[in-house]
């Protein structure tokens, strides 16, 4: 046995068993070493046993970062809890690292805290390369100095006892270690591994199970802790996936047949998924020459009766804006998915922001009423696409779905939907058109009208982006133009009338009401719970419809001393005075309700941890409570 194994934590006869309500685990490696697979499997086992789970990918900044580099951490963060989990939380409780350099990229973003348990691959201590040995020794001393509970683990040596090439399979050995630590059910792991690798043959499954068992056993003998995160088993069938997969499945479930796109991070994986699987339900992915062509193709398909979807991110949304306006003007249904990233311009391509809200609402020249919706959970990513297609068709207008880079890669279990016929788009109607009905026979109350589809005899008409009358004839008369704009705008009022006022999370009156939208919901609600735990009357509200805004806001706001938004976009602090730039939702709510809505927002490029939101809320309380360790000017990134 080498030095490293001797310095492993003492073998306790009786491990320290801790009951915890939740824990955050990270597995990090150089990219390509399988940490992501291990992390996902750990999350799935936990979810299956009945824990709440939220999994996020840790993605290196570069495609092929140098080996053993600080910038190279690739892996997963898994937050498990007895109850449902809605966000990625703060610093990790347990980290497993494949080398001593990758933890630094996590340390740099505040992912570890004093007391974090760090299982560290110790093979580097015996590296033939002196520089590596030195780097390892230095890092080890530094980790201890920082207060981490370091456990050196001879992962490589242990794997060698089971397989010839530990490079493939170390991740499964680690999965075994973690499953022992958290007393996970090995039978479930066996089932998952069979499902994942069964097709590659029995031998592969067996060698992976051998690795798993070895890791499990090693931890049983050597790890001085056990963590019990009580589970709440349920009989409900569930699925687990990330937000982009949920969007892709939603597209399939909605009966959409055409996804027309141009690659852009972090939206592209929606179409990757569809490219591989869409044919199962008869759909196609069209990769266009640019975003303009992508939406043009989608609009063409929609015009011909097959409501299509185009998937993009901020820069692509900008390019599509002329066509979005066209679809609004010509009243062509369309679903546009914007998986937001940091902006403006190329911005932060892989990172989260909620900066496209106003662009989605007002990004087109002229008065361009469109529906804008935002899912707040992975489950909603799935269901909202189905709703979006229906709304697009009923209201004959584009629907923009705003997701973001955080929902895109986060995984969360939710009840398994069952495919329903009413979700699917009906086949194209080619029955004759009623001769006397104009292509824009607007109902004066609702603005709604029915559209003829090519193939319908007697319905021949020419769509145009020019001002037009009910017959779709180009018309520049003032009255006709006024009428067209009114009818198109009226559709949103009609939709608004059918919406229910949003539900307040917590009491419907109190000190502060926090308003948010999209992916921040989970963290906001967790933060609100914590602030209430300190005895303050704080509630929150999440908007799913941004255009039209959900009704009744003014009345809800009236019952709180203060209303503020929490967002991931830029805003000035209140001291900025008259010229203050408000966060985008705050801007919208102020304009719409005339309530003096305050805001706190920032653009760290990462999901906001609940602790930070808690601090932002408490600071706005009458006695401006501070949380000393949280610097609101400098928000820590934990992913």
């Amino acid at each position: 046995m080498g030095e490293a194994s001797q310095s492993t934590a003492a073998k306790p006869a009786q491990p320290d068993v801790q009951d915890v309500a939740e824990h955050i685990v990270e597995i990090i490696s150089d990219s390509g070493e399988g940490a992501q697979t291990a992390g996902q499997l750990f999350g799935t086992v936990s979810a299956r046993m009945g824990n709440g789970v939220w999994t996020v990918e840790i993605i290196p900044a570069e495609i092929e970062p140098p080996y053993r580099s600080r910038a190279g951490a690739s892996g997963n963060r898994i937050r498990i809890a007895t109850d449902a989990v809605s966000n990625m939380g703060e610093a990790a409780d347990v980290v497993v690292a494949f080398n001593e350099q990758v933890p630094y990229s996590r340390i740099d973003v505040g992912g570890l805290r004093p007391g974090t348990i760090l299982f560290l691959e110790s093979m580097w201590a015996q590296s033939p390369d002196e520089l590596i040995r030195k780097a390892y020794a230095e890092a080890l001393a530094d980790f201890r100095h920082r207060g981490y509970e370091v456990v050196e683990v001879p992962m490589n040596d242990e794997c060698l006892k089971v397989v010839e090439d530990p490079k493939r399979g170390k991740n499964i050995w680690i999965l075994g270690l973690l499953c022992a630590l958290y007393e996970r059910d090995a039978a479930i792991v066996q089932m998952l591994i069979e499902r994942k690798l069964g097709r590659k043959g029995k031998a592969i499954v067996e060698s992976n199970m051998a690795l798993f068992n070895a890791g499990y056993k090693w931890a049983e003998q050597n790890a001085p802790w056990r963590f019990r995160v009580a589970v709440k088993p349920s009989d409900v069938d569930r699925v687990v996936m990330n937000g982009n997969e949920a969007l892709a499945l939603g597209i399939m479930a909605a009966g959409i047949e055409v996804c027309s796109m141009y690659p852009i991070t972090p939206a592209t994986s929606v179409s990757h998924y569809l490219a591989a699987r869409f044919a199962k339900v008869g759909g196609i992915v069209h990769q266009a020459e640019d975003e303009i062509a992508a939406i043009g193709f989608a609009i063409g398909a929609s015009y011909a009766g097959k409501t299509a979807v185009t998937v993009t991110s901020g820069p692509g949304l900008a390019l599509k804006s002329e066509f979005i306006g066209f679809a609004t003007m010509a009243e062509i249904p369309l679903v546009i998915i914007d998986v937001q990233r940091g902006g403006p311009s190329t911005g932060l391509p892989t990172r989260v922001e909620q900066g496209d809200l106003l662009a989605a609402l007002f990004g087109q020249p002229g008065d361009t009423p469109n529906i804008v919706m935002a899912p707040t959970t992975i489950e909603e990513c799935f269901h909202f696409v189905i709703t979006a297609r229906k709304l697009a068709e009923t209201f004959r207008m584009p629907v923009i779905l705003l997701s973001d880079a955080s929902l895109a890669t986060a995984q969360q279990p939710f009840p398994r939907p069952s495919a329903r016929e009413e979700w699917l788009a009906p086949p194209v109607d080619t029955s004759p058109w009623q001769q006397d009905v104009a292509p824009y026979a607007w109902d004066p109350e609702t603005g709604l009208s029915q559209r003829p589809i090519p193939g319908q005899r007697g319905g021949e008409y020419v769509v145009t982006g020019l001002a037009h009358d009910e017959e779709s004839h180009v018309a520049y008369e003032s009255k006709v133009n006024q009428q067209g704009l009114k009818m198109r705008r009226r559709k949103l009022a009609t939709l608004a009338r059918s919406l229910k006022p949003p539900t307040v999370y917590g009491d419907t009156e109190g000190e502060i009401l926090v308003v948010g939208w999209g992916s921040t919901r989970g963290a906001i609600e967790e933060a609100v719970d914590r602030v209430r735990g300190h005895g303050h009357k704080v509630s929150s509200l999440t908007l799913h419809f941004l255009s039209p805004l959900e009704p009744g806001l003014k009345e809800i706001f009236r019952h709180f001393n203060k209303v503020m938004t929490i967002e991931i976009c830029y805003s000035d602090p209140p001291e900025a005075g008259e010229g203050r730039t408000y966060a985008q939702l705050a801007f919208l709510l102020r304009a719409q309700t005339l309530v003096d809505v305050d805001c706190w927002s920032c653009v760290p490029g990462v999901p906001l941890p609940p602790r930070v939101i808690e601090a932002a809320i408490r600071e706005r309380l009458p006695d401006h409570e501070q949380i000393p360790e949280v610097d609101l000017e400098n928000v820590p990134c934990t992913v």
Binding site: S260, I292, A419, R457, G458, V463, G465
Partner: protein, 317 residues
């Protein structure tokens, strides 16, 4: 609706379509504008082929010529400047039952829509594309276009266009997977009609450049060709566009050109042998993207539900 086996299944009864069945609003083009002739040709073709008006979609961009759909009593899509090709591709993608025509101008196609032009040729979907090339921006009042001749005075180049034009035929013939490239003149109705007919019959993207008169802004542009018809090289071949006797009588410079000969077509496109009129290139073997986009159209509701269930199972906990 749910009872339909296919999206566009509907019973057809016998009907006899006449020219008026394809005529809509009165065209608002200038007198003498070449666009009138193209409109007349397409209306006659639709009548002669008895194309059901509800199955015809004319997609255009923005420009004088792009007003075209408003004058046809068929389905029409008067789109955005430069973008008719992506729109038309989308229209056809899941509706192989439709006859889709594209009307585009030299600014629309060869300036703002250049990327789409190149990729539409490459995709080779079953579209009939008519490029109305008047060498000028008509609608916006006489700005230079990418095909405006060197030195031609325009509102954006009062001292004359300083850079020579691009040749749409050469460009198109340079794009891999091109499958039908022809040129015709708006002032020869017989050849115009025959060209549009061949283009429509072609399976794949048929690209037709129509030299178009704009008496309003380019009054003298084609005078030379009209006066000295020997400047036109009429291309003839059994696989090409039929040359009517009346055309033969008018144009002395008739050349045999096998449209399968890409090199020969490229040479003719340069204009060194005269302004070509006829089919420069045809390759019926070029793969057609519309055959790929139409995949999966036959799926029933039951297929789709089963497919979705199987997908959901892949994510089961």
């Amino acid at each position: 609706m749910y009872g339909l086996k296919q999206d566009w299944e509907a019973e057809e009864e016998a009907r006899c379509l006449v020219l008026e069945d394809f005529e809509s609003l009165t065209p608002r083009w200038c007198p003498g504008c070449g666009d009138h002739a193209v409109l007349g040709s397409l209306q006659r073709l639709a009548r002669d082929l008895q194309l059901p008006p509800e199955k015809v979609v004319i997609v255009s961009g923005i420009g004088c010529s792009s007003r075209f759909p408003h004058y046809m009593k068929t389905y029409g899509f008067h789109g955005l400047h430069g973008r008719p090709l992506p729109i038309a591709s989308g229209v056809l993608s899941r509706r192989p039952d439709l006859h889709v025509f594209v009307v585009t101008g030299d600014g629309d196609c060869c300036a703002i829509g250049t990327a789409h032009w190149i990729h539409a040729i490459r995709h080779n979907m079953n579209l009939t594309v008519l490029l109305f090339d008047n060498n000028i921006y008509g609608l916006t009042m006489m700005q230079s276009s990418p095909t405006t001749p060197l030195g031609n005075v325009s509102n954006t180049h009062p001292g004359g266009v300083p850079i020579g034009p691009i040749n749409p035929l050469e460009v198109t013939l340079g794009i891999g997977n091109a499958s039908f490239v022809a040129q015709t003149l708006d002032w020869n109705p017989l050849h115009l009609y025959a060209t549009i007919k061949s283009a429509h019959e072609h399976q794949g993207l048929a690209f037709v450049r129509i030299l178009q008169r704009c008496p309003h802004f380019m009054r003298d542009r084609w005078n030379d060709l009209q006066q000295d018809t020997a400047g036109v090289a009429v291309l003839e071949h059994a696989d090409g566009i039929p040359v009517d006797d009346a055309v033969r009588r008018l144009f002395p410079n008739i050349r045999q050109h096998d449209p399968a000969d890409l090199g020969g077509g490229r040479h003719l496109a340069t204009g060194e042998e005269g302004i070509p009129m006829g089919l420069l290139y045809r390759n019926p073997e070029s793969p057609r993207y519309n055959e790929i986009t139409a995949r999966g159209l036959g799926k029933t509701v039951a297929d789709k539900l089963a497919g979705l269930e199987a997908e959901l199972d892949r994510f089961a906990l």
